[in-house]
Symmetry: C2
Subunit: 259 residues, 2 copies
């Protein structure tokens, strides 16, 4: 049953993800569901073009050329540009890992990140997606997401650590408080040893993103961090309103943008 070559080549690329950044030919073939000989030919072509590169051990990784291409993508570029200075300020003030994220379908998509020196186990990377219910930015985005999104997410609360909130009622209550108090927190719900705070970023009345930090412990400094985050979020919002260009690509109005 014939599938187009193009989609097969793309499937090979799609075999890479955050957990599989380096794959052998056999792995690639297996993950893309292709016969080895076919994978061999296609991977060769991708490699020749620069889409894939080889590591010293022969495994394949995403190549420099795809990296360059990807950087041309207008992914929330308006938002990122507006946010950049504020993220630096935040980082300078708190020295914590700072995140800017938007909702993409039913997940959180991290679009900017400043990594702190502090060794907190942070899972997120720019370009990675995480579940909404276990991250600070996720809870914020979920709190302000359309009803239907909330319903669907609440239906599948996967457990990640022992502290992940998996009871819909409890999460709903948390989301209510997020809306009431203006910020969300997590405590080791995504990875042990990491807590987070996050606040919404608004353009006008619409929440377009979430701004968050990851720290080893929240207890003592919560009010200070919330204030800092809110100041930054307000600044970003104001900058967004000031900028004329309505950026393309909203925070994922439809679930699962790519099919």
């Amino acid at each position: 049953m014939g599938v187009s070559v193009t989609s097969r080549a793309l499937d090979l690329l799609g075999a890479f993800d955050g957990e599989h950044r380096s794959l052998s030919l056999t792995d690639l073939a297996r993950r893309a569901g292709l016969p080895l000989a076919t994978a061999h030919r296609l991977v060769g072509e991708l490699h020749r073009w620069g889409a894939l590169a080889r590591e010293p051990n022969g495994d394949y990784v995403i190549g420099r050329r795809l990296w360059q291409l990807g950087l041309l993508a207008p992914v929330q570029s308006g938002l990122r540009q507006a946010a950049s200075p504020f993220l630096h300020d935040l980082y300078g003030t708190t020295l914590a890992t700072v995140h800017l994220a938007v909702r993409d379908g039913l997940e959180v998509l991290y679009i900017e990140r400043l990594a702190g020196h502090v060794s907190v186990p942070v899972v997120s990377r720019v370009g990675s997606r995480l579940p909404m219910h276990a991250t600070g930015v996720g809870k914020v985005l979920l709190a302000y997401a359309p009803e239907e999104v909330r319903t669907e997410v609440l239906g599948r609360l996967t457990r990640i650590t022992a502290y992940t909130v998996t009871q819909p009622a409890r999460l709903l209550e948390q989301l209510r408080r997020v809306r009431a108090e203006g910020y969300a927190t997590t405590g080791e719900e995504m990875s042990l040893g990491a807590c987070s705070v996050a606040v919404p970023v608004r353009r006008g009345d619409t929440v377009v993103a979430a701004l968050g930090m990851v720290v080893p412990d929240l207890r003592r400094q919560l009010p200070r961090l919330v204030s800092a985050l809110q100041v930054a979020a307000n600044g970003i919002g104001r900058t967004l309103n000031a900028s004329v260009e309505w950026n393309s690509g909203l925070a994922g109005a439809r679930p699962a943008a790519e099919g």
Copy 2:
């Protein structure tokens, strides 16, 4: 004369670059040298997969999925990680645009950048390439590049602004001073209104990258900026030495990494 579908699809992607971040179907077909009907079919497939996205006006841009893929590429990740905090420090201290770049073949490849609020006309973007002879980081990398690279670059000094150094002898003299004094400068050689300073980043005795800044004017603050840069560069070098992982992908030992 048949060419593989895969390479045609890749050629379509290759039609995008820093100056063409958004293309109509017709443009894509023209730039990739494909019949319109063929381009239409392939672009459709790329779009369906998420490699391309459409702007409101129907033009195509690089899609979110390629953006995510590209971010998985191990492009100097060790260096970037080591440099990140120092770049922030530099930015915090000087509020100028800060650059981290490596040599890739005969060009400079920008791998990290912190954009200042200050409105200086900066051309570089992360992932972009610029000629070595007209940028601060480029002069540094050229000064420490293998003889053969220097020779080839000196052979084609293209003029970009009225101030670009295009006489081989003059550039050679500048490179000699870079090695002697430990830093390079440019004055509106790449874009009018922008000056730059840069210093080498060493791992052991090898120059593996260049660290630079762009400012509107150098005169008054040159010594201060050079000091700040050198402190940061030393810090990065020390961090690199400390880190065990020898990162893949050097600063472009061979010209033109991708064929």
